[in-house]
Amino acid sequence: MSEQDPSTQITESVEELWGIPLQPAGCRKCGQAHLVDASRLGQVCPNCASGKLEAQPARLRAEPPELLVPYRKTQAEFRLVLENFTRPVWLAVDDFTIEKLLQRAMPVYWPMWLMDSNVFGAWQAEVGFDYRVKSSQESYIGNGWQTREVIETRQRWEPRAGQIARHYDNIHVPALTDHARLVGLVGEYQLNQAVPYDTAKLGKSILRIPDLLPESAWPQAQANLDRAAAAECQKAAAVKYIRNFSVKADYQKQHWTQLLLPMLVSYYTDDDGKAHPILINGQSGVVGGARLASQRKGWKWAGITAGIAALVLMISLLLLVAGAFIPPLLAVGGVGAFIAIVLVFAAIVPAVWPWWWNRKTEK
């Protein structure tokens, strides 16, 4: 990496640097830093939902974000999304309700790096062309052969080499160590819908601060740059396919800014009081997070069912005894005993269900 721009600095005043009235804050539990409105200090950390946000200095680059992907979902749409998310959970924990999730929801923008760079170097690759060959399928019926010609398309590969002197703008590079996890939870964003950064669009949102500095993000940035270069070399060579692309290049005049991605973060607590974050993609509405069933509720319902079964069994036994004197009661007692046995088995379901569901969710 050459001409690395080391313009990161530790600051307590974002307003001086970026001109927005936000304050750096961190969470002692997860160690992540955010830029928040002062009123959010002391509130739950939007990353882990366990710790509290405390004012602390943060390492920031001088340049404000360059682009952001705006929120595309309304409050009503978020409600609908959460309804669909919570509905399948039977015996959900008490805290896992739409109202509580919406009430605790925090708008968060999370960052990706946008890197600009010049690429000067020499490249080589194998390029592929389609060519067509004639084959045939023959069939023998009766006494003669019938031929059906088949034209197959195959690829021919040839080497190519050359030089490249190109500038690339806005190469997307992860800026968070848990970028892949977040994308896994809320899905990909349509980055072509990004608009120029504007403080007015931030509202009361929390901004997460990159924990992957450009120095650490560089290997991924270089891979993405090479990929962009490969696509352009393919275009330059006017070929259909390219493979085994390699480039020996100088990457000059790098410039790093941020792209902000919208997310709604909420949380709920389980039976043991442990907080679980729920993340919603602010652009597509995809929801991610663990939705747990309550084992406590399961035991409760299993106990109630088993209690009813015991009661029905006792009554049935009494009826069976009485049946010795009044024979018609024998039948009623028998049916009652059968119902009691069914209820005993039914009591197993709520006891086992939360365990099975939570295990499946964790997987």
Binding site: F120, G121, R132, V133, E138, S139, R160, R166, A236, A237
Partner: protein, 432 residues
Amino acid sequence: MSLDLSRLAGWQPPSNYQAVTSALDGITVYAPIPESPKEEEPTAYKCPQCGATTRFDIAAGGVACEYCGYTVPAQAQKVGVNAERSEFTLETLSQADKGWGLDRRMLHCDTCGAELSIPEGSLTSICPFCASNKVNVRTAPAENLRPRFLVPFKIKSETIGSGVQAWLNKGWFHPSELSTSSVVDRLSGIYLSFWTFDADIASDWKAQVGYERQERYYDSSSKEWKSRTVIDWRWEDGSVNTSISNLLIPASTRVSRVILERLNPFKLNDLVTYSPDFLAGWQAQTYDLTLPAAWEKGKASMRDKAKDACYADIPTSHVRNFSMSADFSNEAWRYILLPVYLASYAFQGKVYQVMANGQTGAIAGQKPVAWWKVWLAVTALMAPGLLLGLIGLILSAVGIGVLLLAVAFVLLIIGGVISVIIFKKAFDSEAA
């Protein structure tokens, strides 16, 4: 966005690369220089020591001067059956369909300055004025339609000559003048063009297959229980994969295919890369059966092999309503030259061909038949039966006549069978 490429001084493309058009500013593209289908200049073979004409010498395995003994090994590499194959691309098929055309019919002899007319389809020429050898591979419609591999001559013409003479002398029903004819003197070595084909064939067959079973039944006429064989038919199907390599199809229609078949096998393990050195002083013919036409013949042969493989997959010999499909894949071909000694001669107004495999020495050809000898032999074979039958008829009034008739019948049958065999051999001998 493009930047200034001149900042990248010092980079050199690989040595065999040339610049090609780039669709984007700021990116240069270099590609390997394609091997252009070069029009090979005629090569004249002259001894650098004594100036005499040189030719490929079988014993020396290279180009040799028979006057001063100067020898140069032929510049070629042994590739055997792994010689590179080509695919049936639409481009090649369309070019192959055009054949070699009729261009470059005239050749200038650098030795004596004569203008020579090259026979159509010929790759070599001997100047009739100064006897210099020339090898001239004319412009092929595509690079891979030039001969790229060949099997060199292994057997000397003297050896073949004595073999052909012995072959001509063999057999009693040929004219006796044949053994004293000058056929052997007309033998000349020639490289004939062949196509080789490869393919994998996935075949699915379906048929009613019959299984024999012994059945007991009551014969009301003889009033007893007997056994008989009945066939139970049931539908069966199967799949067979067949892989066929190096199927040879002659690419010349000027020589008898039947005789060429009898010269097989050629050992393709001896294939070498093409070099004009091998053709010096020898004749060579280009193909006149185009690749698509030859492939149709090759495919027909392969289909039959696949069909035989399907039949072999069926556990019994009772088969009916047979149908199959054959899906060809990995089809490939080569254009090669194979060594053959060839002589044509006329006998009583009819032209006959004799050929010998220049690699193995196998000999095959047409021989005229002295039909009077054949008829004489047939008469001699049938006469005992006919005479005995006649005597048997005369003596039929007496008891012994029937016995003679029976013996005559047997003799006629034996005589008839031998006569048919003689006739067949005689016809085959003349057939081409």
